[in-house]
């Protein structure tokens, strides 16, 4: 992760932000000419990239196994929607000093609030899960995800089982990919920093890491909190893209979707996971007609992959990895 890629990302980010501020497809960008359908898929792909990359901190780099990512996403989605939809008027009024940018300001604020709430939830999950690993951790995180869902379902002010509709459509392609790039960048630099070596140490040999004086507890909690924060951002973006959220949309199966992306991409490889998230989003769309067969095929793929190539379909593609921060492949 040199200064070069930093500049690259900054440039991309500025470009994308300026794109989203123009807000209208008539802007002089070639991207603007793409049709709505493709645009929507690209946005979904971006959201999936955030989800996959953030789950990868926990499942890939730190070697834990979380099955509750949809829960964090739900917290972010509902948290941000609570600001823009439920209390939209009041919040806009207090942001009136921003003038015409107030709705956008509120959107950004709501994303951050959603992310922070999700991070808090991540802390709540991470702390009691410390003593657990492998299958136990998987079930506990799954349980936490379900508890979050049941809580939302039973909270009338959040719409209960019906969900929340009429969330303003603030999410644009630019915003989505800006956040994805930020998440890729953050995860990459976190894991590749001296500090971040600890994550890999925890994954490779927890006991040895402990013996070397690495505070494994802190790393595990950090992984959960950072992962949850970005999942929360993804949830907020998703809510403001689709316009409505229901508790059912964040069930265990949503978590499994993300887990599949991480596994196919190769656990611990940011590049692989990014590619897998984008690829699977497109594949899902292509197979929308054959929805039923799609999941059967995924399940089979998962099993065969584990038996023949447990490092993931894309894991170990070193050449690809070099193009993206986060050191894929070998790590």
């Amino acid at each position: 992760m040199g200064a070069r890629s930093l500049v690259l990302i900054a440039a991309l980010a500025v470009g994308l932000v300026s794109f989203c501020f123009t807000g209208h497809p008539e802007a002089a960008w070639p991207l603007a000419q793409i049709d709505d359908y493709l645009l929507n898929i690209l946005i979904l792909a971006g959201i999936n990239v955030i989800l996959a990359v953030s789950l990868n901190i926990v499942n890939g780099h730190t070697g834990q196994f979380s099955l509750g990512h949809a829960g964090f996403m739900a917290v972010g989605a509902y948290g941000s929607a609570a600001l823009t939809q439920l209390n939209g008027k009041a919040c806009l009024a207090s942001l009136s000093f921003l003038g015409s940018a107030a709705p956008l300001g509120l959107f950004v604020l709501s994303l951050l609030v959603g992310g922070l709430l999700a991070a808090l939830a991540g802390l709540a999950v991470g702390l009691p899960s410390l003593r657990l690993k492998g299958d136990y951790l998987a079930i506990v995180t799954l349980g936490f995800g379900e508890i979050i869902r049941v809580m939302i379902q039973n909270t009338e002010s959040l719409g209960g089982a019906r969900g929340l509709a009429g969330i303003p459509n603030h999410t644009t392609l630019g915003w989505t990919w800006l956040v994805s790039l930020i998440s890729i960048y953050c995860v990459g630099s976190l894991v590749n920093s001296t500090y971040g070596r600890g994550f890999l140490a925890v994954r490779d040999d927890e006991i040895a890491a402990e013996a070397m004086g690495i505070n494994t507890t802190r790393y595990k909690v950090t992984a959960f909190v950072v992962g949850a924060f970005f999942a929360g951002l993804a949830g907020g973006l998703y809510a403001h893209f689709i316009g409505y959220v229901t508790p059912e949309g964040f069930s265990f199966l949503k978590s499994v979707d993300v887990v599949v992306m991480v596994i196919l991409g190769g656990m611990g490889s940011t590049a692989g996971v990014t590619v897998a998230a984008i690829g699977l989003t497109f594949l899902n769309e292509a197979l929308r007609e054959a929805e039923q067969y799609r999941m059967v095929a995924f399940a089979l793929l998962l099993i065969i992959l584990m038996i023949t190539r447990p490092q993931g379909l894309l894991g170990g593609l070193g050449g690809l990895a070099r193009w993206l921060p986060g050191k894929g492949g070998k790590s």
Binding site: L67, I139, G143, N154, I263, Y293, M295, L300
Partner: protein
């Protein structure tokens, strides 16, 4: 008071189902040290097998006594699931014996999804009615207390199955081998135990018990669908952990406790101030509490996390 008794009856019959599923988790964990994520879906297949076979057999067995019809359906479903369990283990888990546990766990999730979605393809996504195997009737003793005959039968047959399991595990050669394998795999192999046979046997028995649980569950609630195994499966896992994973009596007691607690929380939701919608969260809250305060469970020895 009567109401409490009523809730206990409801809770115990539900708990019996959890206990039957939990035994499969705990037995497989005992010999392979892994959580068979797909176990709840084997339960689902058991229910569908029972439904199709029951519908097919019903006209043929018109002259049979009801108990014979019901037990034939039960046995066929148990046998089919035993075979399914053994085949799944051979195909999906056996190639991964020496691999990291995470790999096996992911495979198990894959198997679980495969059964669910293949089930959806084959059986359809909509809930189906489960044929009644025994004409339901209400047994009412004390004023205001109702137990359906099905609830009573479920409890009695579960008790019989558990007794049978006890005999198999404690008195037979394979049962002894199973216990030996779970205590020390290397030593068991040195005694001449063919681990593959014992593992297949364990999967077979566990899956058969899950199928029995499924027939009971479907008879109690009458509707089945391809995703019906997800929640009972996870709850039964909680029951196994509550009892102490690896412990057979633990799984039984854990299942019963979980069934009763869940029913009571719903039955007394107003009193407790917990909305009945939290029913499905009860198990997970219990799970988190056990893992925090007594990870070895009620009957378990210390959780053995081999490094």
């Amino acid at each position: 008071m009567n109401e409490l008794l009523q809730q206990l009856i409801n809770g115990l019959s539900l708990g019996a189902v959890y206990a039957l599923i939990a035994l499969g988790y705990t037995m497989v964990y005992g010999v392979l040290r892994f959580i068979n994520f797909a176990h709840g879906d084997v339960f689902m297949v058991g229910a569908f097998t029972g439904m199709y076979f029951g519908r097919w057999l019903k006209p043929l067995a018109a002259a049979w006594p009801e108990w014979l019809f019901a037990s034939t359906v039960l046995l066929v479903s148990m046998l089919s699931c035993a075979i399914l369990g053994i085949v799944l283990e051979r195909l999906a888990y056996k190639p991964l014996r020496e691999r990291p546990r995470l790999t096996v766990l992911i495979t198990a999730i894959g198997v679980s999804l495969l059964l669910e979605y293949a089930g959806q393809l084959v059986f359809g996504a909509a809930p189906r009615g489960f044929p009644s195997l025994i004409t339901s009737s209400s047994i009412s003793g004390i004023e205001g207390l109702h137990a359906s005959n099905i609830q009573v039968i479920v409890l009695v047959v579960t008790a019989l199955l558990l007794w049978g399991l006890h005999l198999v595990v404690m008195r037979t050669r394979l049962g002894l081998a199973m216990r030996a394998l779970s205590l020390n795999p290397t030593a068991a192999r040195l005694m001449g135990v063919n681990t593959n046979v014992v593992i297949s046997f364990t999967f077979g028995i566990g899956s058969a018990l899950a199928a029995a649980g499924a027939i009971f569950y479907a008879s109690l609630y009458q509707a089945i669908d391809p995703f019906m195994g997800v929640l009972p499966g996870m709850k039964a896992f909680v029951a196994a952990v509550l009892g102490g994973i690896g412990s057979l009596p633990g799984a039984m007691v854990g299942g019963l406790i979980l069934g009763v607690v869940e029913t009571l929380v719903v039955g007394y939701s107003q009193l407790l101030g917990i909305p009945p919608g939290y029913r499905d969260a009860v198990a997970f809250v219990i799970l988190i509490l056990i893992l925090l305060f007594k990870p070895s469970g009620l009957f378990g020895k210390t959780m053995r996390e081999k490094v």
